[in-house]
């Protein structure tokens, strides 16, 4: 007989945490290998192609960083919201609203102002847009006890429709021959990139700085403390006189605002115009939820988990392009890796004892 029992683990060190993650990663790769074998592809070759395509080559790494920018920004913001147990599923909409505000600002003032003025203004507008879209569910939750999972999720669709309405209607560009989409943003707004890549460095710096500042906010400020109390022990929070509305408004303004920054980065750094929601963001607002969890709700770690996840997505291209497997394989591989990483968390917090032998 085999007996399996579990007990809680309390002495969680950084080293153990790292080892668990690596172990989970390796176990995930093993399962993925079986899938590659079944598809008739050599797993070692496949995995090396994925790695080369994401971190192991200059080309792949540049793309990974490009993709990581919005994930880090949004993921860091979500760690704050999730710490306060505010389940913000609406980052995609907050990103799009940021993109809308940024586009309006760029098209209205971009011609008249130099880059040094207009770029910060556009980022400010993007933050404002994302923040406004973020505080709506905060008000609804605290004032009227409406579940934020529903409101944030639904606001995504509303924002996508508003964006679509703008680009097929009043904002449709003259240079687009009847097709939806705004004209290109003025040159002064277009963000610089690291030569030979698509890394819009202003947003990258902003992402890293935001994650770092947010870490200080969460662990070192009164507001961060209050946000954590709201999440972990709301009763104690009430007793201590924490203003739930104020705390929720601020944290959702930050979480939404960072998603808004990501929207600015995509529009001013990558696409240079506002098109359909699907051509502004490839679901970054949803992907970043996983990024925040992988970061164990620590904004600083979101920098790394954002990079790792971007690497998984970008490396996934290799599955199709180099190995010739269908696109669905990419989703399967990514899904398996995530499940194992999240399962690893269980083994980090629990000891599992397996005893062999007879039981009488």
């Amino acid at each position: 007989m085999i007996q399996i029992t579990t007990s809680d683990r309390y002495n969680i060190t950084a080293a153990r945490s790292l080892m668990t993650s690596l172990g989970a990663f390796a176990a995930g790769l093993l399962v993925i290998s079986i899938i590659f074998l079944a598809a008739g592809v050599n797993p070692l070759f496949a995995i090396s192609e994925i790695f080369l395509g994401s971190f192991g080559s200059a080309y792949g790494f540049k793309e990974t960083v490009t993709k990581a920018i919005p994930l880090i920004l949004i993921g860091a913001g979500l760690t704050l919201a999730f710490r306060a147990k505010f389940w913000n599923i609406g980052a995609e909409g907050q990103l799009l609203m940021g993109a809308i505000f940024a586009t309006w600002t760029a098209q209205t003032f971009g011609e008249a102002l130099p880059s040094v003025l207009i770029v910060p203004l556009v980022f400010g507008a993007g933050f404002l847009g994302g923040a406004l879209w973020g505080i709506i569910p905060a008000i609804l939750k605290i004032k009227y006890a409406i579940n934020e999972v529903i409101t944030t999720l639904m606001l995504n669709y509303i924002c996508a429709e508003i964006l679509t309405m703008l680009i097929v209607g009043p904002w449709k560009g003259k240079t687009r021959f009847g097709f939806p989409g705004t004209d290109n943003l003025p040159e002064s707004v277009i963000l610089g990139v690291i030569p030979g890549s698509r890394i819009h460095y202003a947003t990258l710096i902003l992402a890293v700085v935001s994650a770092a500042v947010l870490t200080v906010v969460i662990y070192k400020t009164r507001f961060g403390y209050e946000a954590r109390v709201v999440g972990e022990n709301p009763d104690a929070g009430k007793y201590a006189g924490i203003d739930f509305l104020k705390t929720s408004l601020i944290l959702m303004a930050i979480s939404g605002g960072l998603a808004g920054f990501a929207g600015v980065g995509e529009v001013a750094g990558i696409h240079h115009y506002l098109g359909y929601p699907a051509s502004v963001s490839s679901g970054y607002g949803f992907t970043a939820i996983i990024v925040a969890w992988l970061a164990k709700l620590n904004p600083l770690y979101a920098i790394f988990s954002g990079l790792v996840f971007a690497g998984i997505v970008v490396g996934g291209d290799a599955i199709q392009i180099s190995l010739g497997l269908p696109a669905a394989t990419v989703q399967i591989v990514n899904g398996i890796l995530l499940i194992f990483l999240i399962m690893g968390d269980y083994f980090l917090h629990h000891k599992v004892h397996i005893r062999f032998g007879k039981t009488n």
Binding site: N42, G178, P180, I321, A327
Partner: protein, 395 residues
């Protein structure tokens, strides 16, 4: 013991798979090769747009031994630049085909970035020294479908489930409506927009809504047979709904509902483009004026819901019985009129063009003067409904 066994087994599977793979690598031919990358917006199994492009790619691949291809499916429009980069930098593609309108800006940017490569963008209007455009359009087939819908309808209400309000769709809706009017001046076309290329759920809902409003003939632009399945469902239950297959051979999804359809064969287009590039006629210096548009004349646009039957045999008797007063042919059956027009279209736009004036928009303004034919440029940017379409284009 068990783990050892597993390790050994794993080792052997690795070795075995290495052997499999090395056995699969063909001997490198010494002759000149051309490598082409294809970027698809949907899965190749979507049974619509991406599927049709992939069929075209396969045709060219079989025809040319020197051609090597790589495909990437389900590429989000916001990710196209990354995929183009990878196809050119890592896969060393000489030519990249980007097959969705939303890839346009990235394709043009990639053209600047890779001046020695050739990029071909499908359905767009921006070109440069090394970026060409190509398209195969179905508006003529929609006209023929409209003739049939107009002849068969009992309610005089015709429906259209449409993806996005862009000129391509407006052109197709208009051509369909012109066909309907030519067969049946009392009938008009209602349009429902679903804002998705791939959205079987929304397409079903829109089709049901149109049927509920009284429409009994439906054409559509969406990449699945969803509308046909709705039509088949109603037809099986005794309420005949006529549908028109879109882009692939969808008739098998609705033998009792699909009258005909539009079918695109990209094979010839891809073969022509690739051959021109391979033999050096088209280079990365002279693509500025390479704007291919293939229609019925080039046998790119084909009538029918299957590759074999232009009209579902089930509906041929009804179409032969429906008589139409044609200004050109006098009293003629709907079936004969469709076939005559189809033959004319195969001869070229100069022989028959659905967009021949007088054509008014649905507000009564004259858009194309009597006797004039719309230019290709006008058709490619058309943004008004012709008389016979109800409602307004979403703004």
């Amino acid at each position: 013991m068990k783990t050892k066994l597993f390790a050994v087994a794993l080792f052997f599977t690795f070795v075995f798979s290495f052997m499999l793979i090395s056995a699969g690598v063909p001997d490198a031919a010494a002759e000149k090769k051309l490598k082409a990358g294809f970027i698809y917006v949907g899965p190749v199994g979507d049974y619509g747009w991406s599927h049709a492009h992939d069929m075209g790619k396969k045709y060219a691949e079989e025809k040319f031994p020197w051609l090597e291809t790589v495909i990437v499916e389900s590429v989000a429009e916001s990710d196209s630049m990354r995929i183009i980069d990878r196809l050119i930098q890592q896969q060393k593609c000489d030519v990249v085909f980007t097959t969705s309108f939303g890839y346009m800006d990235d394709t043009v940017k990639a053209g600047k970035k890779y001046p020695d490569n050739i990029l071909m963008h499908c359905s767009g209007f921006k070109r440069s020294a090394n970026v060409g455009t190509y398209f195969g359009d179905l508006y003529q087939m929609y006209y023929l479908n409209g003739l049939m819908a107009g002849a068969l309808t009992k309610t005089n209400k015709i429906g259209y489930v449409a993806a996005f309000p862009i000129p391509e769709l407006i052109r197709h809706i208009n051509a369909y409506a012109l066909g309907v009017k030519a067969a049946n001046p009392k009938a008009s076309v209602d349009v429902k927009w679903i804002y998705a290329w791939y959205g079987p759920d929304k397409a079903k809902e829109a089709a049901e809504a149109l049927i509920a409003e009284g429409c009994d003939a439906l054409a559509f632009t969406e990449d699945t047979p969803a509308v046909i399945e709705v039509g088949q469902d109603h037809s099986e239950k005794g309420k005949q709904i006529y549908t028109f297959s879109h882009y692939s051979a969808m008739q098998p999804y609705g033998e009792d509902s699909v009258v005909s359809g539009q079918y695109m064969d990209w094979g010839g287009i891809y073969a022509t483009i690739l051959e021109n590039i391979y033999n050096g006629t088209w280079t990365s210096k002279n693509m500025e004026d390479k704007d291919i548009l293939w229609l019925a004349k080039e046998k790119a646009a084909i009538l029918g819901g299957t590759p074999t039957d232009p009209v579902n045999p089930k509906f041929v008797p009804a179409l032969k019985a429906a008589m139409i007063d044609s200004p050109e042919f006098g009293k003629i059956s709907a079936y004969d009129l469709v076939m005559k027009r189809y033959e004319q279209m195969k001869q070229g736009r100069e022989v028959f063009e659905p967009f021949t004036g007088p054509i008014k928009d649905n507000k009564g303004n004259l858009k194309i003067k009597a006797g004039e034919k719309a230019s290709i440029g006008d058709l490619m940017s058309i943004m008004y409904y012709v008389d016979g379409v109800n409602g307004n284009i979403p703004q």
